[in-house]
Symmetry: C2
Subunit: 210 residues, 2 copies
DNA sequence: CCACCGAGTCAGCAACTGTTTACATCCCCG
DNA sequence: CGGGGATGTAAACAGTTGCTGACTCGGTGG
């Protein structure tokens, strides 16, 4: 399997011969961080457990110790993202734009866009996919609930559709910004510049007109 | 590797014991179709050459015969898509909407959305990724050229950014409609219904205002 | 001091992957 | 009729994959 994402330089571990400090929680977190990054960038199938372990600077077997399987690790990453996006609260239009801009337009060096990207990655596992789809669904519903008091059911459904289109747009932008490295200006434009057309598009999508 | 996409039922091959007709061009096409579908749905890394060959009802070794490698097959798929999207002609706003609606909102049974999805799949190969990014770039430029006579350079760049956002939206929708199977109404809404909010969003994105 | 247990290491397995090689079969041209 | 290229098939290869079991190491409580 091709190693498309280059291995990260190990910033931890002061001395090369020094034994890894025996801290299970920290190790688990290292694995989660590395896995989220790999899964988001390369997808589930193209990511190997050895890649993840190497990035985390951790022995491969620990993945199975802490997460049972590669699937389990993926599901753990997804659950973390779900917890982030699956809040029950509704959002106003402004909050939606702000949230998406923050999540999508933040620097690629930040780990924020990876969270969004994970929602587009599928492992083929049914349970993991359920989490993934539920999170997307709930995100759209939260947007729809925030921007519109609905009158009829059909209007309600159209608003939900529009909210889903907004989510699709957010995901598409995140994907293109992160994996479409060489597409300026989109790939490099700062958050505040990106926010302007984004606000316009979301406004057009989510505010009723005619 | 998990076989997430179920194998297609072989609709060709009338008799079970009948030998495959010796038609190189047809076989090549069968492989291309099956590969495009698999790559688009599951991604490059999660797709095995045996999956593709089984879908096409063809021997695995023929992939290497006709396309040298799995990479070569992927590149061939991508080139086919590029030829489709990389026309030099500019597009009016209406044409853009119509084109995107057609490509994105057509039935999933149709093979159109797979073409768009392929633009989001990366194999890690440099040359293939070049084709992929060039196609996306050129698509955005075509949109920008169609909707706007530009005055200044900075305005030109902002318009290009807006066109890229439109492309990101189109890709995001295609991705959610195809791989997010269980997300109604987006996953099942007919093209004409989808076209309405899409027109609004694209109009807001691509027509100058302030 | 030492038995114990959680944390980390190591080597290796069985299955799978992309690819190649050798072989069968068809069909056209001489 | 018979080479000979084109097409398809089958088996196998070497490398990689996810995963496992037995092991060492280090701290802690009795």
């Amino acid at each position: 399997m091709a190693n498309s994402t280059p291995a990260i330089t190990d910033d931890e571990r002061d001395a090369p011969g020094a034994p890894r400090p025996r801290d299970a929680i920290a190790t688990r977190q290292l694995l989660l961080d590395a896995a989220r990054r790999r899964f988001a960038l390369d997808g589930y199938g193209s990511t190997t457990v050895r890649d993840i372990a190497a990035d985390a600077g951790v022995n491969v077997a620990l993945i199975n110790r802490y997460f049972d399987s590669k699937e389990g690790l993926f599901e753990a990453c997804l659950s973390h993202v779900a917890k982030e996006f699956d809040r029950p609260s509704a959002m106003t239009l402004e909050q939606v734009v702000e949230s998406v801009v923050e999540n999508v337009a933040s620097s690629v060096a930040d780990e924020q866009p990876y969270q969004l990207l994970l929602l587009l990655r599928s492992s083929g596992d049914q349970r993991a996919d359920q989490i993934r789809l539920d999170t997307i669904r709930s995100f759209a519903e939260r947007i729809a609930a925030g921007v519109g008091g609905s009158s009829s059911d059909s209007a309600d459904e159209e608003l939900l559709l529009r909210a889903q289109l907004a989510v699709a747009m957010a995901l598409g932008i995140a994907l293109l910004r992160v994996t479409g490295g060489g597409i300026p200006p989109l790939s490099a434009v700062p958050a505040d510049v990106l926010a302007v057309p984004l606000r316009g598009a979301f406004s057009a999508l989510l505010t009723r007109r005619g």
